[in-house]
């Protein structure tokens, strides 16, 4: 039975895709068109009552929330592919620590930038320049903390690549490509090296090749 991933062209589902590829897990994708109101579809709301992507369907087993899905597959297939959770309970704790940082400190400003810069022209609402400026300032402060952290260890949770690093891939890709804000990464020596390392992984390159950005 092959796991189905809904919404592959969007950023959050890409967290799941890159994780599945790292773990050498076969999957299929199901396109969802957000711009055509795909998430308000009653059938979709049965799967995901909050109306967001991704959702995964593995036989009868349905899960939503990209970071919950990643944790599940990383644990379930612990013995194959890349180890993404660390080797001890303490290492796992550090992975969880920095995954939570990504979720609560990194993602909110970068998500706002994505909506304001990339989505606004598609949905036809004006950009809020103040909000963009504020979000960039918030993100810059977070990146300063990352710069300090990454001067002490190669990856966020320690000297091993983990879900904590992987989780940053999709939206950071938007930042350096479509949003034209690569300078935020390049102006920070250790963040820059970390970004080059994680974004050049074959798994991420494969996701970029196979699943086009919708805007």
């Amino acid at each position: 039975m092959v796991v189905k991933v809904y919404g592959p062209s969007y950023a959050s589902p890409k967290r799941v895709l890159v994780c599945l590829i790292e773990k050498e897990i076969e999957f299929e994708t199901v396109p969802v068109d957000l711009l055509k109101g795909g998430l308000k579809d009653p059938e979709f709301l049965e799967l995901q009552p909050f109306g967001t992507v991704p959702v995964t369907q593995d036989g009868d087993y349905i899960l939503f929330e990209s970071r919950a899905i990643m944790r599940y597959y990383a644990e379930k297939y612990k013995s194959q592919g890349t180890d993404l959770l660390g080797k001890t309970i303490e290492e796992r704790g550090l992975v969880e620590n920095w995954l939570e940082v990504e979720a609560h400190s990194y993602n909110p400003p970068i998500y706002t930038l994505t909506v304001q810069i990339m989505v606004s022209p598609k949905l036809g609402f004006p950009r809020d320049e103040n909000l963009i400026k504020e979000s960039e300032e918030k993100l810059a402060k977070v990146l300063d903390v990352y710069e300090e952290k990454l001067s002490k260890s190669k990856y966020l949770a320690g000297d091993f690549f983990s879900l904590a690093d992987l989780s940053h891939l999709p939206f950071t890709q938007y930042l350096v490509s479509q949003m034209g804000k690569e300078y935020m990464i390049r102006s920070r020596k250790h963040v820059s090296a970390w970004w080059d390392d994680i974004s050049s992984r074959p798994s991420w390159q494969k996701v970029l090749q196979l699943y086009a950005v919708p805007f």
Partner: protein, 214 residues
């Protein structure tokens, strides 16, 4: 070795950690951080938590921050002790993570903003933004409607037993019901109400309420 929990006992995020430690019968001491005096912005504290937030823990040499990472760590470390807060299988655990993510992304920010505007700012002698609070309340109504639907199909969020997913909601809902005058959000929904009664009457949560002196 006693776990040190850094943060004021009144704050929601440290309470999330303390509730978990009490459930797992793990001894801890509270190291108070004076938020009003901006102790969380001092260079000493920033070494411990570089974003200047509470809580952080110190367990011998091991240090962690982010309340939802800390509770996952202790729930796993002491899996054999006290109630099983992580589900009975990998699939069960993933549902716990799913609803923990829901709490973190769909619930937490709305509660935080509402409580800041209606409770915290007025306590500091400042004006809260009532319009913003009302907008959060309306969004919370929709979130609680989804919880009502979920809890009509399962006793707890992740299934048949109490887990981290339910625990994570305790501090925020207490603030909503007891301090922000938002009890109707819970009371008007039959299954949410029954769930809140069950989880807030757990002895570990009651112990915490005593510690905080509510």
């Amino acid at each position: 070795m006693v776990v040190k929990v850094y943060g004021p006992i009144m704050a929601a995020c440290p309470q999330r950690v303390m509730a978990c430690l009490l459930e797992k019968d793990v001894e801890f001491e509270i190291v108070h951080v004076d938020l009003e005096a901006e102790e969380h912005k001092t260079s000493d504290f920033l070494l411990r938590q570089p974003f200047g937030q509470v809580p952080a823990i110190e367990d011998g040499d091991f240090k962690l921050f982010e309340s939802r990472a800390i509770i996952r760590y202790y729930a796993a470390k002491y899996e054999e002790r006290g109630p099983n807060l992580l589900g009975n299988s990998l699939e069960g655990r993933a549902l716990v993570d799913q609803w923990l993510e829901v709490e973190a992304h769909n619930f937490n920010d709305l509660v935080y903003t509402l409580v800041l505007q209606l409770v915290v700012l007025p306590r500091m002698g400042k004006h809260g933004d009532v319009v913003l609070a009302r907008s959060c309340e309306q969004k919370l109504e929709k979130v609680f409607d989804i919880y009502e639907q979920r809890l009509s199909n399962a006793t707890y969020l992740a299934g048949d037993s109490f887990t981290l997913a339910d625990l994570s909601h305790l501090p925020g809902i207490r603030y909503l019901v007891n301090d922000a005058g938002m009890g109707h959000l819970v009371a008007e929904r039959k299954h949410v109400n029954a769930w809140w009664e069950a989880i807030s009457n757990r002895s570990a949560w009651k112990k915490l309420m005593k510690l905080v002196n509510y």
